[in-house]
Symmetry: C2
Subunit: 356 residues, 2 copies
């Protein structure tokens, strides 16, 4: 679909250099909302879902916080286009599996995305590069307030917003920050951090959400609790924790440089050597190597590339993006070949630009 | 010792481009000889060994086949100098451990080496690059004949030449060929070959002899039998077998190119990338990567380097050579650093020469 093709021309707003380049990669805040007297999407039939979407669509398209949005209905999207939206974190894999009545309403700059008929009737999220939870909260809260004036949410005075899954009841809010933590991983200090974060009621996930591991040393930290606390309390605790983790990461990097400079240079050098010379690269290995390059750039060990080139590659090497760039559906083995070619080409072009 | 330093200036005659560049790396033929009415070195005391060496020395120095030799007595050599001689395959590790009375008499071009008071009184070997067993046999046989006119060998008309270890009794000859077999290894076809070779009474060893594995895909194939056959028979059977293995290796390489070209290019590219970018390289990994480069060069996939550059690196990255180049004794970790530096420097210099 043409609209999806357009997305590929830029790296996605939340991937642009952010307020906290380096450790803090991106932030997002999402709210789960449902309409009263309407079955949750999991219970509703196709007709009911369709009616809900048709009635919501004009309301959402007219929201001031989401001006002139791109509207994408799941049933009209190819598998590949949906894959690309998933890879850009604009829709969930669950939404991609849904049929008629499920849709994405996307602000053109990719900073606000509303999923319709996913697990809940409406999942609205705001995202940005770097760390900016209060700003994102204000953005999404204002959209939520506008919307609340035009629809009636399923709301219980005792529990708060009602959601399909009990883990979201209350605020319906999930705030998350993606952190790049290669220093803690290389210093073997990531496990106590993850355990500590879990203990205080936050979740740690990999780049692609629940059940994925931390490919590329990317860790997504989010609140678990949605009940019994205000959104501001949840957000400010999350913010405080990720700032602390950022400090730990910075210390780990400083100690890496001081105590293990040669191993670090070796690690970064090998990643460079492999990415610029391999002919077959799977996504996992590529992300891990890109993580090493990103670390090398941030520590001043690599001057050939900017972090932006690496961050864009993190996105482009995903299977969907890769196939879109290639212009055709290709199997895993051919993708490894195309991925290696893409990485070599991008790194070599960026290297020449940087030097020229 | 200065004489050992001199050796470092050239790559060792048997490493120069040989008669069969590519699969056949080098050949050697050695004879074990002992003097009659004299205790084997393992039984002889230090005085007896010293006397034997003093009486043999002028005879060996005057041998026509070993003109103006370099004479190195083990007791006068540093540990590092002995390590270098071992790495150049000029002495055995056993000889390096010996004290007074043990010595090396070496033809200056490194093609003939006589070890005195190793396991036997005299171990004489001739070596060359590529495959040239009959020539080496003629060389060493002529030295043996000359020597036999001046000393009395321990010889039994029934058994042949008597040696300290029964596995050498008879001809006292061990002929061996070093083969580079990355194709068979990559195609997973090396094990049946090794088993087959063992079955017909030949031994397969790694680069550094008995008990070592095939680092860098280098396999040394030699006769086991020394009794009941003439030297010519043994040598011609060995020659026939290694020629057959060379054919297998060539077929394996052709099939690699046909059926697995991309994996092959990936394998070679990664080795390139790592060798030119790593900061820490241990010997085993380096040899395996150099093996990939050697294969890449021979198959025309790499044009940056000549096989000679790689073959010299195979020698220079060994711990002894590395420390000699560095000019000091350094521990394993520092050696990995020095090794990576040396490899990067050599490959980069050779690359520029090739392009310039």
């Amino acid at each position: 679909m043409k609209v999806v093709d357009e997305l590929l021309k830029n790296p996605g707003a939340w991937l642009k250099v952010g307020a906290h380049p380096g450790v803090m990669v991106s932030s997002r805040v999402r709210l789960a909302r449902n309409l009263e007297n309407t079955a949750f999407p999991g219970w509703a039939g196709e007709d009911e879902s369709q009616r809900l979407w048709q009635s919501l669509r004009p309301v959402l398209e007219a929201l001031p916080g989401c001006a002139a949005p791109v509207v994408l209905e799941m049933e009209n999207l190819s598998r590949l286009d949906k894959e690309i939206l998933v890879e850009r974190h604009l829709i969930s894999r669950d939404l991609a599996e849904k049929g008629p009545g499920s849709a994405l309403v996307l602000k053109a700059d990719e900073t606000v995305a509303l999923m319709i008929n996913e697990e809940d009737h409406i999942r609205m999220q705001a995202m940005s590069p770097g760390l900016s939870l209060p700003e994102l909260w204000r953005t999404i809260d204002s959209i939520d307030t506008d919307l609340a004036q035009q629809v009636r949410y399923a709301f219980s005075p005792r529990l708060g917003y009602l959601t399909a899954c009990p883990t979201n009841v209350g605020t319906g809010m999930r705030a998350s920050v993606m952190l790049h933590l290669p220093g803690l991983v290389l210093m073997n200090e990531i496990n106590p951090i993850v355990k500590g974060v879990n203990k205080i009621g936050l979740a740690v996930r990999g780049l692609w959400g629940e059940g994925t591991d931390a490919a590329g040393n990317m860790f997504q930290i989010s609140n678990q609790t949605t009940l019994g606390e205000t959104e501001q309390t949840i957000i400010s605790r999350l913010e405080q924790i990720v700032l602390e983790i950022e400090e730990h990461e910075k210390h780990a990097r400083a100690r890496l440089l001081q105590q293990k400079e040669i191993s670090l240079r070796d690690h970064v050098g090998r990643a460079c050597g492999i990415l610029t010379n391999a002919c077959l690269l799977n996504s996992r290995e590529t992300m891990d190597m890109l993580s090493a390059l990103r670390l090398g750039i941030e520590l001043g060990l690599l001057r050939e590339w900017s972090a932006a080139v690496i961050d864009e590659l993190f996105l482009l090497i995903q299977p969907g993006h890769l196939q879109k760039v290639e212009g055709r559906i290709i199997g895993a083995e051919k993708r490894d070949l195309a991925r290696a070619r893409l990485v070599r080409a991008r790194l070599s072009a960026a290297d020449k630009r940087q030097q020229g």
